[in-house]
C-alpha cells in the first residue's frame, strides 16, 4: 500500500464514547498531520484522556472512525496500535516497580519488537537515565519517570506519539526539557498529539489546537493565532472574563 503524504497521519471522525450514562466524547473529529504537533486542551473531565484512550484502543467507542495513515484502525487493541506505529505516553507515567529504569524502557521494545540498540538512542536523548539505568523505575524523580515513559514509547519507533498530561506535577524546567525533546522528535519526522491542561505551554509547543468541553470540540485553529478569550470560553464554557 502506498502512502499519501498529503493526507493526515491521524484522522478521527465523529467519535462517540460513553461510560455508562456519562457521555465522555460526543462527536469529536480531529486530524494530525505528519511532522506536526497538535494540542488537545480542556479542563478536568473535558474528555481529553478519554480521547487518547479511544484512539489507542484502550476504551471501546460506540461510534466514529479512526484512520491511521489512511487505514481504519478502529477496534484494534493497544498492542496492535503500538505495532501499527502509534506510541503512548500515558497519564501518570505508569512505571513498573519490579523493573529497573532500563527494563522499563526496554518494555517498549518488547511491545514493538524493535532492536535493543534503540535503548542507546533513548539514553542519548535522556543521558540522566543512563546513569540510573539499574535503579528501580519508581525510585527516580517524577521528571525522570516521565522521561522513562517517553523513552519506552520511542522504543517501538512510533510515527505518531500520543502524550497524555506530560507536564502534570513537574517543575517548569523539566517540562521545558520534555517539550524540547518533543520538538526535536517532530523535527525528525514524528507527529505528536498532546493532551494538556496547561494551555499556554501546549499552545507554545504546537502548530494546531483543539479545545474540548464536555466531550465536544468547542474551538480549534492554529496555535500561533489562538485568541486567549476564545480559548477561555471554549475551555470553561459560557461567558468568562
Amino acid at each position: 500500500m502506498t502512502t499519501d503524504a498529503s493526507r493526515p497521519l491521524l484522522e478521527v471522525s465523529d467519535l462517540h464514547l460513553r461510560y455508562g450514562g456519562l457521555r465522555a466524547l460526543d462527536g469529536v473529529s480531529l486530524t494530525v498531520n505528519r511532522r506536526e504537533t497538535v494540542a488537545v486542551l480542556g479542563a478536568n473531565g473535558a474528555g481529553k484522556s478519554s480521547l487518547i484512550k479511544a484512539i489507542y484502543g484502550v476504551e471501546p467507542f460506540s461510534a466514529g472512525q479512526i484512520l491511521f495513515d489512511g487505514v481504519a484502525v478502529s477496534g484494534r487493541s493497544p498492542n496492535q496500535m503500538a505495532r501499527a506505529g502509534i506510541g503512548l505516553v500515558p497519564e501518570g507515567r505508569k512505571i513498573f516497580p519490579s523493573l529497573s529504569v532500563e527494563e522499563n524502557i526496554r518494555l517498549g521494545a518488547a511491545i514493538g519488537g524493535h532492536d535493543s540498540a534503540d535503548v542507546d538512542r533513548v539514553f542519548e536523548i535522556f543521558p540522566e537515565l543512563k546513569e540510573r539505568r539499574h535503579v528501580q523505575g519508581t525510585l527516580v524523580s517524577g521528571g525522570q519517570q516521565q522521561m522513562i515513559a517517553i523513552g519506552r514509547a520511542l522504543m517501538a519507533r512510533p510515527r505518531l506519539l500520543l502524550c497524555d498530561e506530560i507536564s502534570l506535577g513537574l517543575a517548569p524546567t523539566v517540562v521545558d526539557r520534555l517539550y524540547d525533546v518533543i520538538g526535536d522528535l517532530v523535527a525528525e519526522g514524528m507527529a505528536v498529539l498532546i493532551v494538556e491542561q496547561e494551555t499556554n505551554r501546549a499552545l507554545k509547543s504546537s502548530e494546531r489546537y483543539y479545545c474540548l468541553l464536555e466531550g465536544r470540540v468547542t474551538a480549534q485553529g492554529r496555535s500561533a493565532e489562538a485568541d486567549q478569550d476564545e480559548i477561555t470560553r471554549a475551555y470553561f464554557g459560557g461567558d468568562h472574563d
Partner: protein, 289 residues
C-alpha cells in the same frame, strides 16, 4: 556428627524436589496472580500420564519425559485458552473456584481410572544408587540429580524472567495487568507463554515426584500444601527464594524425621508457620532489575 551431616544432606536434597513442586506455583501465584489450587492435582495427573506412557512403551520415566513435555505444554495451552481466558479474573475468587472444580474432577477421574492403589514410576537401578563421599555419609545419586535439575530449571527460568523481553513483559504484567495492557503489552500472549512455562515445570516435577515418592489420586493436596509453603516462604515470584525455601522445608522435615519418623511432615508445617508469623512477606522478597 555423621548423623547430623546425613540429616542436613538429605534435607537439602529433598528441598530440590519441593522447589520443583513449587516452581510452577510460584509463577502462577506470584507472577500471573492466579491462586491455582489445582496445582498439586495437576502434578499427580501428569504423573499418571507418565505412568501410562512408561507402561505402554516399557520405557524409563526419563525417556517418557520427552513425550510428556510437549503433551503438558499442549495441555497447559488448551487449559489457558479454554478455561482461564474465559473466566472473569477481576475477582480472584472466580479462577480459584474454577481451579478447585478441576481439582475435584481430576481426583475423581483418576480414582475411576486407576483406583486407590499407590503407584510409582520405576527409574531402575539409579533409584538405589548411592555414593559415600566420607565415611558414614550416604548420598542418593537420584536425590542429587533432582537437586541439580531444580537448580538448572530455576537458572533457566531466572534468565528468561530477568534477561529476556518476554521476562520483562511477564514482570510488568505481574506488577499491573491494567497498566501493562494500557501501554500495549499483549496480555493474552504473555499469559499463554507463561502458563506453558508452568506446565514445563509440572511435567518435570511430576516425573521426579513419581520416581521419588508414591502417588495416588488424592496425593495432590499434600503436594499443593508443600508447594504453597515453599512459595510463601520463598517470597512470591522469587525463584531462587523458592529453591532456598524448598531446602528450608526439606531440612525441617528431615530434622523432624530424625527425632521420630511420624514428625516429618508436621515439622515442615511448623517451620512454615513460624516463618509466616515472623516474616509474612517471605524470607526472600522479590528482586528488582
Amino acid at each position: 556428627m555423621t548423623d547430623i551431616a546425613n540429616v542436613v544432606i538429605q534435607g537439602v536434597l529433598l528441598g530440590g524436589l519441593f522447589a520443583i513442586y513449587a516452581l510452577g506455583l510460584s509463577l502462577v501465584f506470584g507472577v500471573l496472580r492466579i491462586v491455582n489450587i489445582a496445582h498439586g492435582d495437576v502434578l499427580v495427573l501428569v504423573a499418571y500420564v507418565a505412568l501410562v506412557i512408561c507402561d505402554s512403551f516399557s520405557i524409563s520415566p526419563f525417556l517418557a519425559l520427552l513425550a510428556l513435555i510437549p503433551l503438558a505444554l499442549l495441555g497447559g495451552f488448551a487449559f489457558q485458552v479454554g478455561v482461564f481466558e474465559r473466566v472473569d479474573r477481576r475477582d480472584p475468587l472466580v479462577p480459584m473456584l474454577v481451579a478447585f472444580g478441576f481439582a475435584v474432577v481430576i481426583q475423581n477421574g483418576l480414582l475411576l481410572l486407576f483406583g486407590t492403589n499407590p503407584r510409582k514410576l520405576d527409574a531402575g537401578a539409579i533409584e538405589q544408587l548411592g555414593v559415600s563421599p566420607f565415611p558414614g555419609i550416604n548420598v542418593s545419586v537420584l536425590a542429587v540429580m533432582i537437586l541439580v535439575i531444580a537448580i538448572v530449571l530455576i537458572a533457566i527460568f531466572q534468565a528468561i524472567l530477568y534477561r529476556s523481553r518476554f521476562g520483562i513483559r511477564v514482570r510488568a504484567v505481574s506488577d499491573s495487568e491494567e497498566n501493562a495492557r494500557l501501554i500495549g503489552v499483549d496480555i493474552t500472549a504473555t499469559f499463554r507463554k507463561a502458563f506453558m512455562m508452568v506446565m514445563l515445570t509440572v511435567a518435570v516435577g511430576a516425573v521426579l515426584m513419581g520416581i521419588k515418592t508414591n502417588f495416588d489420586p488424592f496425593s495432590g493436596a499434600s503436594r499443593l500444601l508443600i508447594a504453597f509453603e515453599v512459595v510463601v516462604i520463598g517470597g512470591l515470584g522469587n525463584l531462587w527464594g523458592t529453591l532456598a525455601a524448598g531446602i528450608v522445608i526439606g531440612l525441617a522435615q528431615m530434622v523432624g524425621a530424625s527425632i521420630d519418623v511420624s514428625y516429618q511432615t508436621l515439622a515442615g508445617h511448623l517451620v512454615f508457620l513460624v516463618i509466616l508469623l515472623i516474616r509474612p512477606q517471605g524470607l526472600f522478597p522479590k528482586v528488582v532489575g
